[in-house]
């Protein structure tokens, strides 16, 4: 169990590092995906080890995957729209949206 938790821990904090240190919005989105995946692994691991007969964590992971897919679709649509307006996907340039 600690191996699964360790994998998801490393994955989550790799996502945190990428989220804080990259400038492109697509890289930030990739980091968010990493963090969501780490959370999914945690749900499934705890469900499997602590409550082996039940399926709550299983369904939670299932619904989380669906929500992550939605969120990615909308975020990528927004990013493409921003790129069309500003021809750049860096977060530092976002304050030009006001003009």
């Amino acid at each position: 169990m600690e191996l699964y938790l360790g994998v998801s821990l490393i994955m989550f904090f790799a996502g945190v590092y990428g989220f804080l240190s990259r400038r492109s919005m697509l890289m930030i989105l990739i980091s968010i995906e990493l963090m969501l995946n780490a959370a999914d692994i945690n749900f499934v691991t705890f469900n499997r080890y602590l409550f082996p007969g039940q399926l709550e964590g299983f369904y939670f992971a299932l619904f989380t995957i669906a929500i992550a897919a939605c969120e990615t679709a909308v975020a990528i649509a927004i990013i493409i729209n921003i790129y069309r307006n500003l021809s750049s996907v860096e977060v530092g340039n976002l304050d030009q949206m006001k003009e």
């Binding site: 995946n37 080890y49 369904y59 299932l62 669906a66 990528i76 493409i80």
Partner: protein, 148 residues
């Protein structure tokens, strides 16, 4: 590596491998259905969206920039500190539960019944909510990305 690569398309490929490895972990834990869903949704749908978006928004041959070195050091310190903290918590609390209990495979009948009921431990309402949310997301994404 998915977060440190210079080329964005390479980091997307690394992300694909991470997602496949996550699916493998689900398989190791005995949840075959979640394995299939992970492969189909993430490795199929989300990665195609990512690569599409990268090809649309990236100029060829251009590396993605990172933040200033100060920001990168701060980000690394935050990540390492959080990792150490959580690893400490996990390490000191892990001794209580470690046995892997055998469990039977989840049959598709069981899965369908618990997705389609409204009793306790049945999940019709979240299922329908997710379907409405997916519909709203598709319509919203088309509306946002539409060329005016």
């Amino acid at each position: 590596m998915a977060v440190t690569s210079k080329r964005i398309i390479r980091s997307a490929t690394y992300l694909l491998f991470v997602l496949l490895a996550t699916a493998g972990l689900y398989l190791l834990l005995g949840y075959n259905y979640l394995f299939a869903v992970q492969i189909a949704v993430y490795a199929g749908g989300v990665m195609v969206l990512f690569i599409f978006a990268i090809l649309l928004t990236n100029k060829p041959g251009e590396n993605v920039k990172t933040e200033l070195p100060v920001r990168r050091v701060v980000a690394g310190a935050t990540a390492v500190a959080g990792l150490a903290f959580c690893a400490h918590i996990i390490y000191w609390n892990i001794k209580k539960v470690t046995e892997l209990v055998e469990q039977a495979d989840i049959t598709p009948q069981q899965l369908g019944h618990s997705l389609m009921g409204t009793d306790k431990y049945q999940y019709l309402l979240p299922f329908e909510t997710i379907s409405i949310l997916l519909l709203a997301c598709i319509v919203g994404a088309i509306m946002i990305a539409r060329r005016r």
